[in-house]
Symmetry: C2
Subunit: 329 residues, 2 copies
């Protein structure tokens, strides 16, 4: 299960199995989305499959995730998503009414994100070879001129921002997972971040890195950036925006909120000269109202993320081996 | 199971569930791939999920299908595939060596087709909620200037061509399906048709319709074109290129080869003035060596496909309700 969790085991699968088999310079850049050129247009291109369980959870559904997850991967290249593809893998016996509810959620999320579902496919597998509905979406969008956002561009001196409270999606899904139900009163933050990124790019096209900390949470996003750019990252734990219900649930479950999945948040590495103005633009956007500075990029300990703790000490923030709980998205 | 078979039940799901939920003018065109414009570039965009069983079959694998199926959907818009996305849904416990074999087959097929795997994703589901490996690919490619190939352009007078022997892929997969094994000595025709389409477009950009007759076979492809363009289609059964092993297997299994899936064939509707030259160009290409005229497009019986039988009579060729055998691709 760990190979799908977005952590070290996932990275090993990509590095040792997929990258050598597929080859190609684009895939090996390991960003959330690929930047490709076609017919003179600079495009972002990305895909994700969605196997979340349950299909509906507080604040969203697999249909919302399938739109927002892929739209956000494109946004992390600075691209506004234009078109999505959508593939359904249905398990024999799934109610048509349930398929319709998911399709309606997906359609509504697409309209909210301003993206068009342009092409699709449906397959059906026998009962016992699926789990109701699995979805895949791929998306394409245009990267604006002068924008070059990718993990390798993180540079010492960059200010590290996060767009709002962390850990909400993961805790919301866990709270309704069978065998684990608990009352927590948080809803998933699942949202499309294209508009927020546009507002940030209006301040400066020179954003260095954007990443949506989904599987593996903020810790994994920061660790991958530190490794890709060979820079150090220092985070001040006291500045991490962790909502109280998330902190309480994490305490009970023995989880670290830095490793819990988000679906409507982004982390940004911004040159210090633009950091205040970008933070102001984020806070002026509904999806960035809780934006805050959480750390900085340094020359020390390249490839490593270090957290300053509340007690004045520091600790190393490792990449997780797998996901704390599988099938969170 | 029928809702995934590519026949009437699949069409109903698209028409009554997905199209209303997603909306949008592009999806409703119901072609193999969508034609979209982005940054001034005319792009074909398509997706398919692959759930074939078994994963390896005579002449190919799920990795070959995942490349060639999506490359061919793009080719049916006249586009040469440039970039693919690839999503793996792995079942817990699947051997890493098997994943690697599939990835290698996929990579080799991509290199053969001249397309780059640019972005990917992996999810893992618990044992009993998958079937080893499911794949999804989406693809993008550039549509050449002056090319407008879609089902609605079929016109009375068009000559209907097929690029070679039909029914081979479906019979090859059926012959190794558990519970149904039979010796047949045919290998899947799975292949990427981008080069063949380029050779046809070099004769004239004015090809009216291209379709790869996968799920539901030639009958379904012709029926969908007749319905989309409100034209009649007449096929001469005696001219259908059915290899003897396929004909024999179909006779034993009680199948009509016109409904059996292909993965490396195309059907073309070509204006009569260009038909001879296009046929000649197809025959000069390795993947079109067996190309032949199978019928014509008429004003009679709009929306209906009629076959002239060997006995001098005619019969209506209906859309199938579902697939004869599920999970053929």
């Amino acid at each position: 299960m760990g190979h799908g969790g977005g952590g070290v085991l996932s990275a090993e699968l990509v590095e040792h199995v997929f990258a050598p088999a597929f080859g190609g310079p684009v895939l090996s850049s390991l960003a959330d989305s690929a930047a490709v050129t076609l017919g003179g247009a600079r495009l972002a291109f990305s895909t994700d499959s969605y196997v979340v369980r349950p299909l509906f959870f507080p604040g969203g559904s697999i249909g919302d995730l399938a739109v927002n997850g892929t739209v956000n991967d494109l946004a992390m290249s600075g691209a506004r998503a234009a078109y999505l593809s959508c593939g359904f893998i249905l398990e024999e016996g799934v109610e048509t009414a349930l398929v319709a509810r998911v399709a309606e959620a997906l359609g509504a999320a697409a309209r909210a994100a301003g993206v068009e579902v342009a092409t699709g496919d449906t397959k059906v597998v026998e009962a016992g070879h699926g789990d109701g509905i699995y979805l895949n979406t791929a998306g394409i969008g245009l990267i604006p001129d002068g924008v070059d956002i990718r993990p390798q561009r993180a540079a010492p001196g960059d200010v590290v921002l996060v767009s709002g409270p962390i850990g909400v999606h993961g805790i919301a899904v866990m709270s309704v997972r069978e065998g684990l139900e608990f009352g927590v009163g948080v809803e998933s933050d699942c949202a499309a971040l294209g508009g927020l990124v546009e507002a940030m790019l209006a301040v400066t096209p020179d954003l260095h890195v954007l990443r949506d900390p989904t599987r593996g949470g903020l810790a994994t996003a920061l660790g991958e950036i530190a490794a890709a750019a060979s820079v150090g990252v220092v985070v001040d734990e006291r500045n991490l925006p962790v909502p109280e219900p998330v902190a309480n649930a994490c305490a009970v479950l023995g989880l670290d909120p830095m490793y819990v999945a988000n679906e409507g948040k982004l982390v940004a590495f911004v040159p210090r000269a633009h950091a205040d103005a970008v933070l102001e633009a984020m806070r002026a956007h509904p999806l960035g109202a809780g934006a805050t500075v959480i750390g900085e990029c340094v020359t020390d300990h390249p490839g490593m993320v270090v957290a300053r703790t509340g007690l004045g000490g520091t600790r190393v923030v490792d990449l997780p081996l797998g996901e704390q709980l599988p099938r969170i998205c």
